[in-house]
């Protein structure tokens, strides 16, 4: 399912028009980004948790050039699915 289909479905459920839904989703994503940038967790009931994970610097070989590279540390966004979500999808399958 692509973004367009998702926004259309959400707009129906939230009783908003497409544009309003799109704006509100965009605002929500901005807020999620800011919460994660503060190194906080965002817990969504019956869905899961968004959090960040810090990755230390590491050495790896670049596949294209074959040269050993020192990659800098980074913060990555991580999602941990909740038990309810996992179970509901497992039951469906």
């Amino acid at each position: 399912m692509d973004n367009k289909q998702y926004i259309t479905r959400l707009s129906r459920r939230a009783t908003l028009n497409y544009k309003e839904t799109q704006q509100l989703v965009s605002s929500a994503i901005t807020m999620i980004t800011e919460v994660l940038a503060q190194d906080d967790l965002l817990a969504i009931p019956a869905f899961g948790t968004f959090e960040t994970e810090k990755k230390d610097e590491y050495i790896a070989v670049d596949e294209n050039s074959g040269q050993r590279m020192l990659y800098p540390p980074s913060v990555i966004a991580k999602f941990t699915p909740g038990t309810i979500l996992t179970k509901s999808i497992s039951n469906q399958q």
């Binding site: 399912m1 692509d2 973004n3 998702y6 479905r9 959400l10 459920r13 939230a14 908003l16 704006q23 509100l24 989703v25 965009s26 605002s27 929500a28 994503i29 901005t30 807020m31 999620i32 980004t33 800011e34 919460v35 994660l36 940038a37 503060q38 190194d39 906080d40 967790l41 965002l42 817990a43 969504i44 009931p45 019956a46 869905f47 899961g48 959090e51 960040t52 050495i59 670049d62 040269q67 050993r68 590279m69 020192l70 990659y71 800098p72 540390p73 980074s74 913060v75 990555i76 966004a77 991580k78 999602f79 699915p81 979500l85 996992t86 509901s88 999808i89 497992s90 469906q92 399958q93």
Partner: protein, 364 residues
């Protein structure tokens, strides 16, 4: 420290930014993720622009691939770094062993110094063949001779400090030749004499430094005293009057045209008030709103709920707390002023209560 944000708090933040009510925003956020969950039951992947793609594998495990813009924003603190090519010589161990190498170098340095003062080297030191026999006896009695030579050097340095060159000349005249012969080998070329000289040099430099410091302090104190005594009278009065005038201008006091000669009135301009205002203005912290006041509250107080106090402090700048213009410069009040404590539940409840009051007022 990581803080878990509940959906209600998140909805309030979203409400303040979007302008919708917090109840609606909470409902919307729930629906937003419920739609993803429901879509994952039908499709193997759901893509949300700006957030990422949620996927389900064959075994029912849910995965998440963040969108590039989302990943970049989250990784903003480290975004300025780029991968660096490494030389072939550099290994993982070399990178991780920097500290240990440094420690090893210091240990080697200590070993070198030990080697320098090793008694075995002393046997090679005397080069004068006439003194070999005496030198051998000295090596046999090395520890004791070291002490005697040190003491001799200490005595020498004391004499140098006390009476300068004359004492040295006097001493050179008085010492007989036999003593000179004994003393030269007693002080082997490298080890004890060098140490003694260093000590005497250090002591003389320390004495010179102390004397210089004392002289400087005395001269400085004398000059300061002279300046204060000679120029305390009329200049100080002028300075007071000028200072008060400036303070009166700053504070926009109406009676700036008052008689300057009447010293009884000028102190009533309240220099204490001006000092207080200057001090308080120095301690006020300013910050710029990026998105919401709640974010600023989290940044400065450790919790999102205390945004109300930032709003209270900046009512002159902020008309609607739910719609703050980006890049608005606001004053961040001192936490003690409003009893802000992120670890205190009562403090958070007070802030929430105030938040509800502000929301009610804005609705009216």
């Amino acid at each position: 420290m990581k803080q878990t944000i509940a959906i209600s708090a998140f909805a309030e933040m979203l409400a303040r930014q979007s302008g919708y009510t917090s109840d609606f925003c909470e409902h919307f956020v729930v629906e937003m993720f419920k739609t993803i969950a429901d879509s994952l039951k039908e499709a193997s992947a759901v893509s949300v622009k700006g957030l990422g793609t949620f996927t389900v594998d064959d075994s029912g495990n849910v995965g998440f691939i963040p969108d590039s813009s989302f990943a970049t924003d989250v990784n903003a603190p480290f975004d300025c770094f780029e991968p660096e090519p490494l030389d072939d010589d550099v290994t993982d161990e070399m990178l991780s062993m920097d500290d240990t190498l440094n420690n090893a170098e210091t240990v080697e340095g200590i070993d070198d110094t030990d080697e320098e003062i090793a008694p075995e080297d002393i046997s090679d030191a005397p080069s004068n063949p006439e003194c070999n026999e005496v030198a051998e006896t000295i090596i046999d009695d090395c520890p004791m001779k070291e002490n005697t030579s040190d003491e001799g050097n200490e005595n020498e340095s004391d004499i140098m400090v006390e009476s300068g060159e004359q004492s040295l000349a006097h001493k050179a005249d008085e010492t007989p030749e036999t003593e000179r012969i004994e003393q030269t080998p007693v002080v082997p070329d490298d080890y004890p004499e060098g140490d003694g000289r260093e000590k005497s040099k250090r002591r003389s430099s320390v004495w010179a430094f102390l004397c210089g410091t004392a002289c400087g302090a005395i001269v400085g104190a004398a000059v300061t005293y002279m300046v204060l005594v000679s120029g305390a009278g009329p200049e100080s009065e002028e300075q007071i009057i000028l200072g008060e005038q400036q303070e009166a201008e700053v504070l926009d006091v109406e009676n700036t045209t008052a008689d300057r000669d009447s010293t009884n009135q000028l102190p009533a301009v309240t220099p204490e008030q001006s000092i207080d205002s200057v001090c308080s203005s120095d301690t006020v912290i300013y910050d710029t709103v990026t998105t919401t006041l709640a974010q600023l509250s989290r940044k400065h107080y450790g919790s999102y709920e205390f945004w109300v106090y930032i709003y209270e402090e900046n009512k002159d700048v902020i008309s609607d707390p739910d719609r703050v213009e980006p890049d608005t410069r606001v004053r961040i009040p001192d936490a003690e002023k409003y009893g802000i404590d992120a670890n205190n539940r009562a403090s958070i409840n007070n802030a929430l209560k105030k938040s509800r009051e502000i929301t009610r007022q804005n609705k009216r």
